[in-house]
Subunit: 168 residues, 2 copies
DNA sequence: TTTTATTTTCAATAAATTTTGAAAATAAAA
DNA sequence: TTTTATTTTCAAAATTTATTGAAAATAAAA
């Protein structure tokens, strides 16, 4: 396979893959493009390469910077801004985990804690099942939380360390 | 907080949470409702409880059955079909992991393997970065895959059973 | 300062996804 | 068998989400 074809396929598949994970397809494609670009790119480069409008690139690029997956670069002598992606996949993954944990998992855990304190007749089977379910999810979430914490703190030998910690 | 309010909040929050993970909001809400229902429900029950159309409930219910998170139940003497959700959160999680691994991770890993075999000038920095990125993701994916495999194979009493072995 | 290049915003539009509901299909009862 | 209950399908409508592109804002150069 030629590089040009491989690039195309990588970018489009990565976008499709990401969309199964609640991530905007275009954002994932821009990220993919930057991940395989040896040099920083401008917004115009991305516009041209992916056939996207200026506004679209600008908004998704800002989102990538917001997630700390991409950083702005000032190149001396150049007027345009350049963008470059963190290439270390381990760092990329831990960064995503960190952010999603903070934005999604932590608030959900907090909510579950308040829901567990629901009041009512302790003999009501509906109440029993509700607290059992919420409690079960909370417990599982706490375990997952620990595991993700460990992953984020761990280095490349994370598999061993996370497995060791996971069921504690 | 009253049970009725807590239920409402749980169902709606769970739906919102799930939509960040590529899961249909309604499907997640139906799942949430079944998770906190002590008894099996019919499609009409779900329609009424969540104010959804018959078609919507039917399609999402089938999807839940397809994911093996919910099962159809025949109750003797009842003409309607009943549905019940697996309540063990550990089993729910491993089932989701198993399915998503099969549907998303495995195909992506396979694709990355073919993309790594891209041909071209070995001194081209674009080619170098491409293979480095694809290789890095593949390596990370393989590690994650191993971890998920381990999780799916382990059961809730993993820690207990290994501890017990020590004392035999 | 003015001019020019570049980035950002956001209302309008387009695209994708979800939801509806009535008709068709299926299955159980009479 | 026919009737009745229930489930399934799917084209159309509604809703949500993504994208555009031109105008406004910003920043650099002249």
């Amino acid at each position: 396979m030629k590089l040009a074809d491989a690039k195309q396929q990588f970018i489009s598949s990565w976008g499709a893959f990401a969309s199964h994970w609640g991530i905007n397809k275009t954002m994932a494609q821009i990220h993919a493009l930057l991940l395989i670009s040896p040099d920083p790119l401008t917004q115009d480069d991305v516009m041209e390469e992916l056939s996207l409008s200026r506004g679209n690139v600008n908004m998704n690029m800002r989102e990538l910077v917001d997630w700390a997956l991409v950083s702005r670069m000032i190149i001396p002598g150049e007027r345009k801004e350049f963008f470059t992606a963190e290439k270390d996949i381990w760092k990329v993954a831990t960064q995503i985990i960190k952010e999603r944990k903070r934005r999604e998992l932590d608030p959900m855990m907090k909510l579950l804690a308040t829901l567990e304190a629901v009041e009512g007749d302790v003999d009501d089977k509906h109440l029993k099942q509700f607290t059992a379910t919420v409690g079960g999810i909370k417990k599982f979430g706490a375990q997952a939380d620990k595991m993700l914490e460990a992953m984020v703190k761990a280095d490349e030998h994370w598999l061993l360390s996370t497995l060791l910690r996971f069921f504690k």
